[in-house]
Subunit: 277 residues, 4 copies
């Protein structure tokens, strides 16, 4: 099995030489390498895919000692991530995840699905995935999120995927999963932030509608963007036909983003992403 | 030469039968027909392209008498429009118009170019088009626009094309050319309204940049959208490389919109357009 | 429920006036109308969507009497089509159909799934659709197709959808379902006709891969094209990652084509289609 | 001014470490680095952009001594390429090059334009570029190409750009400019190889037309593909309107390819390209 090395730090002279020399010394094969330097902010990003026998701790120590003090370094086996999917009522993003998972094409293991409506339980069960219904009615957000959090903690997921989960998560909840929550927003952000983006798009008379997959931070619809896709529309589209056309582009945008995230190809830099596609 | 009939009115029973029966009675050939009914607002739109001998006044009278009272009806020869191009300093949209005009592919006759900077005079002159430099320095907007208006009036254009004209036109000016001014905005509206959209896009970290061609109304960047196009970007783009990539998509979006407008395929309905592409 | 009128005939003067006058006389509402005249071949195509009380036989007779002798005319209720899906081993197109069917978004009723491999039976059963396994081993094509034909005939479908059915159908079989079999081919036809298009694409070093939905006629991969879509690739793609990227574009191309076909928006003209999208 | 290092060789252990260590030892800054290993063929490709004081000969020697014997290595200043443009009668690709050159956005210096028709001489002269008319009538291909070759040799260009040059070049001519001739073909190769691709596309009834920029080798339309783009069409397109729509996508495809080629981001590997976009 291959290994993934993820490095983010201040830029400095000789970084690539130092890193690759350490790896070479240990007889490691570099199967794939991508690096990027943000010249404006002087940040360095590198993703390596390695093969061969690797002692993570030893490599980690040696690499860290040759990197700037602010370095973030992760070495891990290249293996499927554990995820939890949160949904509400719409099936199209959840079904995409369930199907690709079922046929071994998701590069992730779905531990469970949590939804604040019951209607997707049947679909989820068809694919043998545990489904937790957490009603949000007559509950404070605090209580609602506490119930979700308990289920989440019991599964220790690498990522939470909001597959059209239509509740806004509190800053407290979000901060527990920094850069670990991926959301699909049904518009081409930053156009049409907030509720009913398709109605907003319809009323503005746009000629394209879009979808945006992004990490969730504390500000609604403001997190780092991972992928965006669009689909053309014209005057004959109603709000309803926009929603329908939007479903297909939403699920594709989400799945494209997750493919990158689960393969450790996405770095967060402030409110942006560096994506080694 | 063919004829174009443009009809917009309230929807009513038998409209298509009435219109086409009148045309048939006069022995006119329908070369092309498109119609659309906005069910929500109960508006009817039709574009016809006709061949044969046609007395515009007679047809106009007969059609009007069979249409609802609020009908807007235009019958015209299918011939190139007369246009004036307004520019500032950027060449890429103006050159697109000049070139396609020079080689007979614009479907319009450029009467002159008006710019508030001098640098595009040389390019314009290469193609034998009159160039008017109207400086905006040390002038009120009123005086500036009066100078432009005098040149415009002398040429009685069908359309004004803002080919990256970076001055905001006053409501007074705009209202003289209702649905007759086409602008190219360098973002995917309504994202990044206003100044420096590429800087805004860069700072937001979007993964696509776009361009929007629209009719100009009194509210900046708020007019009816005609066409929109996008081009993918990634983390490696600076503001400058976004601007450069944007140039190509801006000119393509503008030229695609003008092709539709000059061929009378665009109707304005409130703040939206109906486009028979 | 609305009605759909489908007309294809030689072009003639007054066709639109005649057709719409007949409809008006009967008090029918035209909800939507699209027409197209192929000037080169002098063919006329029209699709109407009507509301109101309609006697199909009466309208059919009156319309036919006013149309050229070679007219093909169909009047039908706008209702979901009955279809049978044929598959082999790949799940991605079949699952798209099953899911959209399950959630009422397919505009068709899947009568059954027929496959020449067993592996998709489980998936199909999850959604409560009958699954018929028709083995092709140790059988002549004649016998194999006879077995399929018996199942098909028992369900009298409007359309057969080949959702990655990898067997070539005989001219005899195809001719029984003229313009009624929709196939998804995994390349941008006419590039890469025949077997292993992704391997062909890989070996040619193309920068985009595509998919083509088309009606099946007697010549392999030569039928009238309905929709085509592409997805960019680069040098880092293997045959396997092209296949994976191709899956998503294949199912989207197929579903987009079926949306048009099931809504009676596609006419076949020789080896081409006229599509009122 | 920055420097570009281009390396292509067999893959071997420690290549990146060796290369970057040599550069680090000489105090060179790596501004940008991209590498790719073709696992199937075991080929290694690297592009580096360096800043700082660099002695090309010294670095070249040290790098070569640490690379496999079959290494191709080029170190050059990052500066505009010298090019010659060959054209026939169509203006749209040539004008794109002339305009971007005129406004300093081509990243190349156009030494001259050679055409086998006279009509583009006027356009070329507007931009102050020498124009050579080389008639192909009543001449053997040998003589025709000899005349072109003399003009070319007098300018020692880095690249020849075939901007809709509609004559097929002989293997002798092509072999003198290995991987140095970029052509724009007006179809989505390998669909519609040869003459009149738009007519072929029209007759096949495709729903998208495309363009392909590629290096020219000895087999017509068979060289390594650099970029491909498409534009949607429908049944209403004639051959003529396909040609017109195709013009815009052809020039964009060509200019996108040249941007990559002139920035040394394209490697040729057999009949394919590796593109560090």
């Amino acid at each position: 099995m291959n290994h993934i090395v993820h490095i983010a730090c201040s830029d400095a002279k000789g970084l690539v030489a130092n890193i690759t020399s350490i790896l070479f010394k240990h007889g490691v094969n570099i199967e794939e390498m991508r690096e990027y330097v943000d010249r404006q902010l002087s940040n360095f990003f590198m993703r390596l895919e390695l093969s061969g026998e690797i002692n993570h701790d030893v490599i980690q120590q040696e690499l860290l000692s040759s990197l700037p003090a602010n370095a973030s370094l992760k070495i891990s086996l290249k293996e499927p991530k554990n995820i939890i999917v949160l949904a509400t009522k719409e099936y199209h993003c959840l079904s995409e995840l369930l199907l690709k998972h079922h046929f071994g094409e998701l590069n992730a293991s779905i531990k469970c699905v949590i939804a604040n409506h019951e209607n997707l339980g049947d679909l989820t069960s068809k694919f043998g995935i545990p489904f937790f219904y957490v009603n949000h009615h007559n509950k404070s957000k605090e209580v609602f999120e506490k119930e979700i959090m308990e289920i989440v903690k019991a599964h220790s997921p690498d990522y939470l995927v909001l597959a059209k989960f239509m509740r806004i998560l509190s800053p407290e909840f979000v901060s527990s999963f920094n850069d670990k929550i991926v959301n699909i927003h049904h518009s081409f952000l930053p156009a049409f932030v907030g509720a009913n983006p398709y109605r907003q798009a319809f009323e503005r008379g746009v000629k394209m509608i879009g979808a945006t997959a992004h990490f969730v931070n504390n500000n609604l619809d403001e997190g780092p963007i991972i992928t965006q896709k669009i689909v053309p529309v014209d005057h004959s589209f109603t709000v309803e036909s926009m929603i329908s056309a939007g479903h297909d582009v939403e699920r594709q945008t989400l799945i494209d983003a997750l493919k990158l995230v689960f393969d450790d190809r996405v770095f967060v830099e402030g409110n942006k992403t560096v994506v080694f596609a």
